[in-house]
Every structure is written in structure tokens, then in C-alpha cells.
């Protein structure tokens, strides 16, 4: 079965490549009237990019969780048999979704831009996954460290939020546009929290593996962060819709709960010194470097998110590219770095001795980090320019407004090209490792 998971994880890397490619295409098509008037339209390129990003994260995270679930708890035969169903149904659904876009079939909702019928397949796949995961877990009497809780929480809450995202099919949930928007963004906001649980759980697990220190995942601090994350998942989605005339307490609850995340900022600052010592010990490991990069991005994006969670500041950032900086900063800087770190560890790239391999990896790593920083800063700058202008003169014509933003967005696009190059190097290095491992694995031995 392990070979299947590894293949599934390699598939996720292909999705990441697709996501990066369509990011470049979407950026150019944003300026299509300037460059290539006949190229693919933005509303067609963007869904490829967004869905590939979403499925890269979900596929990699679930693939890694299933792999390590088997390693930690073994596999009860019945639940074991469900995994291929999950993998098969999921891959089929993802392929069907991408194919729909080729035929310009859209579902037109944020994150879920594909025809909703494919949600049924995704749901079936997810149920297989849940049965297989929890079935194995409940049969095992072993103690469950915090990362297992995080994986389980992420998997379960993804099901809840995914279901909630589809409630709009029932007319009652569209009784008013306020209700429609509120529930749509409640579920979208919490869903991100759900996949963060899976990904952060994988990050913690990797740290335990690298350091050999099991206490990291049993400490009070670890459990505290887990529950703080879960509380924020439940209550802190309102910042998406501060400007919608919902009941005032929706805003109040979200604003208040989001401020609890300052605790994390303080804890990161306090832990900085011990991180330096830790870093000296493990910096030769490629996976550790990616993990440390993710911690840097956690810090930066946490600060940005905390500011955006204050409605008075949100007034300038909402409806601008600052939200894109937040979305991309977290999905690339945090989720993707942690997942790539886990995959680097899994495919044993850390053990690679060839200098050329390590050099290419390091080049890819640094190009990625530096260009991502520029990318993130340009997005924030573009957003702030638009936000300031829009707030100062709300009735200014859109084209005029955007003339001020385009130069910065172009810089964003150029840094995106470099980011594409850097990340592609990393992904290709990992795919080459995956290919090496898969070709030498005797499946009957590892099954």
C-alpha cells in the first residue's frame, strides 16, 4: 500500500506544477489587453490555478497522513482495503474537474469554481478516507499524540465545512443574499482552518521525526496551540464578511477570537532563541530548511492576518490584493513549505549525498523564498494603493483607480515568474527522488 500512497503524493506534486503554470498564465491573462489579446481568458485560467492549488494541498496532506497512519498504527485489513477506493475516486474527481474547465464548465463559487456535481465524487472519496482513518485509529489502543488529533480534526472538519459549502443547493439557505454570503464564507473560512490542522499536524510530526524528541507532541504548549487553532477555526471566519450587514455579534465574535492569536506571535518571539540553537543542529537537512522557512512565513502572515482582523484596518484591505497576499502567503509560504518538507523527508532527499542535487535544491529553495517575499510585498502594496484610493474617493471610475495599481501588479507578476522557476526546481528535484524510490520499491515487500 505504501507504494500507492507514494504514487498519490507524486500526483500531488504534479498538481503543484499545474498550479504554478496556471498561476503564470492567469497573471498574464490579467493583463491580456496589453500582451496577448487572444490568450485564455482570466475566468478560465484562474479556476485551473485555484483548484490545482486546493487539490495540491488536500492530496498531499491526505496522502502523507494515510502513509504515516499506516506506519504508526498498522492497517486493519478492512480499512486498508478502502484506501485504493479513496485514491481512485479522488484522482478521478480531480481529473474530471480539470477537464470541465477545458470545456468552460464552471460552478462559479470561490474555491469551488467547478460544476457542483463533482462534489458528490469528492464527498464519496472523503467518506472512504474517514472510515479508513478513524477505523484504524479506533482499533488501535495506542496513545495518540497531538499531531494525530490534528490530522483527525482536520479530516473531520473538512467534511463538515465541505458539506456546509454545499448547503446553498437548498433554497432556505439562499432565502436572502445575506444568508447566502454569510454561510458561504463561514464554511470557506473554516475549511482553511481544517486543512491547516492537517498540515500543521504534519509539520509537528516531521519535527518529532527529525529531532527524535517525542515530548514536542505531548507538551502542554502543543495541546494549547491545537485547541487555539480549533477555536479559531470555529469562530474566526467573520473577517471575510465584516462589511456585510449580518448581526453585529458575528463581527464581534470573530474580532475578539482572532485577537487570541497574538498569543502565538508572543510565543514565536519567545521561542526565537531556542530555534537558533535547534537550527544549528539540523540545518544540513533539506526538509528542516523548508520547515524553518514555513515558520518564518507563519510569523509574517500571522501579523498580516491580525491586522486584517481589525475591522477598521480591514476597511482598507478588504476587496484588494492584500487578501490575495494573505491567501497566497499562507498557502505557499506555510502550507506548501510544510508539505514539501514532509515530502522531502518521505522521499529521503535528506539522505542524498550528491553535491549537484543538494546545490540545485538549495538554489531552488533560495529563489523560492526571496521571490516569494517580493511577491508578497508587491501584493500588499498593490492592495494598499487600491484600498487607500477607493476609501478616499469611492466613486472614482474603476479604470482610473486601477491605473495606479497596475505598475505594482506587474512587479508582482514578474516576481511570480521567478517564484514559478524556483518552486519548479524544488518540485522536479522531489519528483526525481520519487521516481527513484518507486522504481526500486518491490511492492510485495512493502505491501
Amino acid at each position: 500500500m505504501k507504494t500507492w500512497y507514494k504514487l498519490f503524493i507524486s500526483f500531488s506534486l504534479l498538481l503543484l506544477l499545474l498550479c504554478l503554470s496556471f498561476g503564470v498564465i492567469a497573471a498574464v491573462s490579467f493583463f491580456k489587453d496589453l500582451y496577448f489579446p487572444n490568450m485564455m481568458s482570466f475566468e478560465q485560467a484562474r479556476p485551473f490555478h485555484v483548484s490545482a492549488a486546493l487539490f495540491w494541498i488536500l492530496t498531499a496532506a491526505t496522502g502523507l497522513i494515510m502513509y504515516y497512519k499506516q506506519e504508526l498504527f498498522g492497517d486493519a485489513p478492512m480499512y486498508h482495503k478502502l484506501s485504493p477506493f479513496y485514491i481512485g475516486t479522488w484522482v478521478f474527481a480531480v481529473a474530471a474537474i480539470l477537464l470541465s474547465y477545458c470545456f468552460q464548465q464552471f460552478g462559479g463559487r470561490e474555491y469551488w469554481e467547478f460544476p457542483p456535481v463533482w462534489n458528490l465524487l469528492l464527498l464519496v472519496a472523503w467518506v472512504y478516507l474517514l472510515i479508513s482513518f478513524f477505523g484504524t485509529l479506533f482499533r488501535s489502543g495506542k496513545e495518540k499524540p497531538v499531531y494525530v488529533w490534528m490530522w483527525g480534526t482536520g479530516l473531520l472538519f473538512f467534511l463538515f465545512t465541505f458539506t456546509e459549502q454545499n448547503l446553498w443547493h437548498i433554497a432556505w439557505f439562499r432565502e436572502s443574499f445575506l444568508k447566502e454570503m454569510t454561510i458561504q464564507w463561514k464554511s470557506n473560512g473554516s475549511m482553511v482552518g481544517a486543512w491547516n490542522q492537517m498540515v500543521y499536524g504534519l509539520g509537528l510530526f516531521l519535527m518529532v521525526k527529525i529531532s527524535g524528541d517525542k515530548e514536542i507532541a505531548r507538551s502542554k504548549k502543543a495541546y494549547f496551540s491545537y485547541f487555539l487553532g480549533l477555536t479559531n477555526l470555529i469562530f474566526n471566519w467573520g473577517h471575510h464578511i465584516y462589511n456585510i450587514p449580518t448581526a453585529g455579534w458575528v463581527r464581534g465574535v470573530s474580532y475578539t477570537i482572532s485577537m487570541t492569536e497574538w498569543v502565538l506571535v508572543i510565543s514565536i518571539i519567545q521561542g526565537f532563541k531556542s530555534k537558533l540553537t535547534e537550527q544549528r543542529k539540523f540545518k544540513h537537512l533539506l526538509s528542516y530548511r523548508l520547515l524553518i522557512a514555513s515558520e518564518f512565513w507563519v510569523f509574517m502572515n500571522l501579523l498580516l492576518a491580525l491586522l486584517m482582523s481589525v475591522p477598521a484596518i480591514n476597511r482598507y484591505t478588504h476587496g484588494t490584493h492584500v487578501t490575495v497576499a494573505h491567501a497566497m502567503g499562507t498557502t505557499i509560504g506555510i502550507n506548501t513549505m510544510i508539505l514539501l518538507a514532509s515530502i522531502t523527508f518521505l522521499f529521503e532527499a535528506d539522505k542524498e549525498k550528491k553535491p549537484a542535487y543538494r546545490r540545485n535544491f538549495a538554489i531552488g529553495f533560495w529563489i523560492t523564498q526571496i521571490s516569494l517575499f517580493a511577491f508578497w510585498v508587491f501584493l500588499i502594496a498593490a492592495g494598499l494603493i487600491k484600498g487607500m484610493k477607493m476609501t478616499a474617493s469611492p466613486s472614482a471610475p474603476f479604470t482610473e483607480l486601477m491605473q495606479n495599481v497596475y505598475p505594482v501588479l506587474k512587479l508582482f507578476m514578474y516576481s511570480g515568474f521567478v517564484l514559478f522557476a524556483g518552486m519548479s526546481v524544488l518540485v522536479i528535484q522531489l519528483l526525481s527522488k520519487a521516481a527513484g524510490q518507486l522504481s526500486t520499491t518491490d511492492d510485495s515487500a512493502t505491501n
Binding site: R109, F177, K179, F235, I244, P311, M390
Partner: protein, 133 residues
């Protein structure tokens, strides 16, 4: 202990969700049949990839939440764009019925509130006070 805290939070999630569904977003007009059909057109053409409603969506085009009640723009102006597109917005070759439905959808959206929050609605502790429409 961990199990207990988890159970409490799970319960909180369920209760808070139910509460939001029931009381979080009360008020606002019901959609007409045309508005419901218009939302399907909006979704199937993926207008949200470029446009925002209440600031949410893609940023290639402008926010359309209050275009219908805009005293300068209004429904006729919106219809002209929807019918023919521009250099940056595709022409979707929509039927008269689809255009009418899209305008009905945008009218329903507009009636639900204002996308921009005026400065006087910001409270001293940094939150908003927004009155219902």
C-alpha cells in the same frame, strides 16, 4: 481531558453553526425567480473570477454589489457591459433572457446592503456598526 475539551469545542461548533443559520443573517429580500436564475448564470459564466460582491471574488474587474442603485451607473449601464463586454471583459453572447436574469440577480444583491462601510460607522474599538437595510 483532551477528549473532553474536544467534545466541548465540537458542541460549540454545532451550536454556533445552528445559531448563525437561524439568527446570524436575518433580513434582506427574498430572491425573485429571475434572480435565482440570474445567480445560476453568474455562476456558470464564472463572473466572480473577475468581479467581487461585497469585496469577495477576483480583482480584475470592479465590485458589482451596488451597481444597480448607483445613481450614475444603474441597470441600463450594467446591462450594456453584460451584453457586449469590453477589451478586458469577454462578451459572453448571452440571450436577452439571461441578461435580464443577471440584472435581477444584481438587483437582489444590491438590496441586501452596501459593500463600502462609511468612516462614521467605525467604532472607537475598531469595529463596525452597520444598520440593516
Amino acid at each position: 481531558m483532551v477528549k473532553r475539551i474536544f467534545a466541548v469545542l465540537l458542541l460549540a461548533y454545532i451550536c454556533y453553526s445552528a445559531f448563525i443559520y437561524a439568527y446570524g443573517a436575518e433580513g434582506g429580500a427574498k430572491p425573485t425567480a429571475d434572480a435565482v436564475a440570474g445567480q445560476s448564470v453568474w455562476q456558470s459564466k464564472n463572473c466572480q473570477a473577475c468581479h467581487q460582491l461585497y469585496g469577495l471574488g477576483g480583482y480584475m474587474g470592479p465590485d458589482l454589489t451596488n451597481i444597480i442603485s448607483d445613481t450614475i451607473k444603474g441597470p441600463v449601464y450594467a446591462e450594456a457591459f453584460i451584453r457586449s463586454g469590453t477589451a478586458r471583459m469577454p462578451n459572453f453572447h448571452l440571450s436577452d433572457q439571461e441578461v435580464k436574469e443577471l440584472v435581477a440577480f444584481l438587483t437582489w444583491v444590491d438590496k441586501s446592503g452596501k459593500s463600502r462601510v462609511p468612516a462614521e460607522n467605525v467604532t472607537w474599538y475598531g469595529s463596525y456598526k452597520i444598520d440593516k437595510q
